[in-house]
Symmetry: C2
Subunit: 297 residues, 2 copies
């Protein structure tokens, strides 16, 4: 019997495999149009903590999902995430020049290219996810879930609310709702796609995973706000203090630092509780919730 790898070993292995999977699921840079494909690779490869792919794989462990199908689902979610960052950084949105310690896509290439990179990455995500080898009915449900998590009632809707909220005083409930869409929807679908790569889910399983994803997703955002207010740009790999400078409502601006940290801890407890029905199989999901709350960047 082999011993289970440590969380850190598991995480590094998933991250390394993801790099290969993303490369495999992107068009090669030799293909025409070369510059667009190079920019797509620039936007996706060699960057980020791969939180969403880690969630896909951790949820896949619940039902012993096939590794190739998990990589496919994780690549699709990560492409959606990467496209949203590219568009988010553009001058008409957040106008950010630095991302993961590198120039953003519109700075490195140009704005028109960044626009097309985002558009093409979204298409690529649906191409990748619809090309899997799971039972077609389940594969189709996964495509539908990803589309809904990405669109105007998911991530894009959250972005729109975020833009409309600049300079406004949001209540805690309004802030939470915005984040449930803006980042929560994609984190939730990461968990669901990972589990669905293993088997069709019953209502109890879906509800438990939703509760886990909701708590973890919100914790992720609370910690993001805390880090934006306390860490420096070099540690974050992106411009720190942006939220306050942009006059954006955050957990820190509403609750203050200490209460925000306490909320993140409580959400982590909630996430653990939601996983109880899954027993030891949920180990990686538990460890990920801990990581998300304890991360420093």
């Amino acid at each position: 019997m082999t011993t289970m790898p440590s969380f850190d070993q598991w995480m590094k292995a998933v991250q390394a495999e993801m790099e290969d999977a993303l490369l495999r699921h992107l068009p090669a840079t030799q293909q025409i149009p070369v510059r667009l494909h190079e920019a797509m690779h620039y936007a996706v490869l060699d960057g980020g903590k791969r939180v969403r792919p880690l969630l896909v794989h951790a949820a896949g462990a619940l039902f012993d999902a096939d590794a190739r199908e998990l990589q496919r689902a994780a690549a699709a979610v990560e492409m959606i995430h990467a496209y949203s960052l590219v568009h988010d950084d553009m001058p008409c949105m957040d106008d950010d020049a630095l991302r993961r310690g590198k120039p953003t896509v519109h700075v490195q290439y140009d704005e028109a290219c960044a626009l097309l990179v985002g558009d093409a990455l979204q298409s690529q995500a649906f191409d990748v996810l619809s090309s899997g080898n799971l039972p077609p009915e389940r594969q189709l449900a996964m495509v539908r879930l990803l589309a809904q998590a990405s669109g105007s009632l998911g991530m894009c809707g959250g972005q729109a609310i975020d833009l409309d909220s600049v300079g406004l005083q949001l209540t805690l409930e309004e802030l939470e709702r915005m984040h449930q869409l803006k980042t929560g929807a994609l984190l939730r679908v990461s968990v669901l796609l990972g589990a669905l790569a293993g088997k069709a889910l019953n209502d109890d399983e879906t509800a438990a995973l939703d509760a886990y994803a909701a708590a973890t997703g919100l914790a992720f955002q609370v910690v993001d706000d805390v880090l934006d207010a306390t860490a420096d740009s070099a540690t974050l790999g992106k411009t720190a203090g942006k939220d306050a400078a942009d006059n954006k409502p955050t957990y820190v601006s509403i609750l203050g630092l200490e209460q925000s940290r306490a909320l993140a801890e409580q959400l982590c407890v909630d996430a653990h509780r939601a996983l109880q029905p899954f027993g030891e199989k949920a180990r990686r999901l538990r460890e990920l919730a801990d990581l998300i709350v304890q991360r420093k960047a």
Copy 2:
């Protein structure tokens, strides 16, 4: 026995039904975020000739496809088309203020909103297409075809080549290749999705429909270039003479007006020939090829 409606009657009926179908497949404007949903409706509804939906329905007639499933496929393709126009009109791309006789989305709303409208419409297209009631394996194949037609090896790739070609002297072959991706890929997938809504296709059927779509798609672009060079903005509902002003290579700039018109006629003949195996069932596809070559706007 009822007499078959005229082409004009058929076309107007499809266009009217499409308006209902698009409305049904978009999130309601009352839903939060209201402004984003209003802008999505603004971008999609009450506009355009609905060429792609007409192709979907015309191809659906080959195999007596279910009307609801055709509307779903047509709505998905039209949302992809509409999103591409919204992004294409933005200042960092074509910087166009007028579309279908109305202010473009970034003018009517703002740039950030236009960016999100396009992003959300793309997601919505995949949500709509993956929610159909066809056999899951075929539905999944349709999603995959749409994703491939939209991405960097399809429409987005054509846009990128178009941008890279400004100010360059393209050969006829390079121009054709650009258009095969930029507009041809989505026209082709319209024909294939319509046919697939009816039944799974064998290789001969796919090849015949591809030949039809290639000829019709190219004819569409040649006529577009002719109209841009000869019609006025009021007739076109968009800014005329843009191509020459932007120093973009076109069929007219390479072949001249008369040869461009002759090419469009020849492509129409090719389109008719490709449809021979389908007999009388291909009537609407034939009529559409004629319309595309003879249109004045």
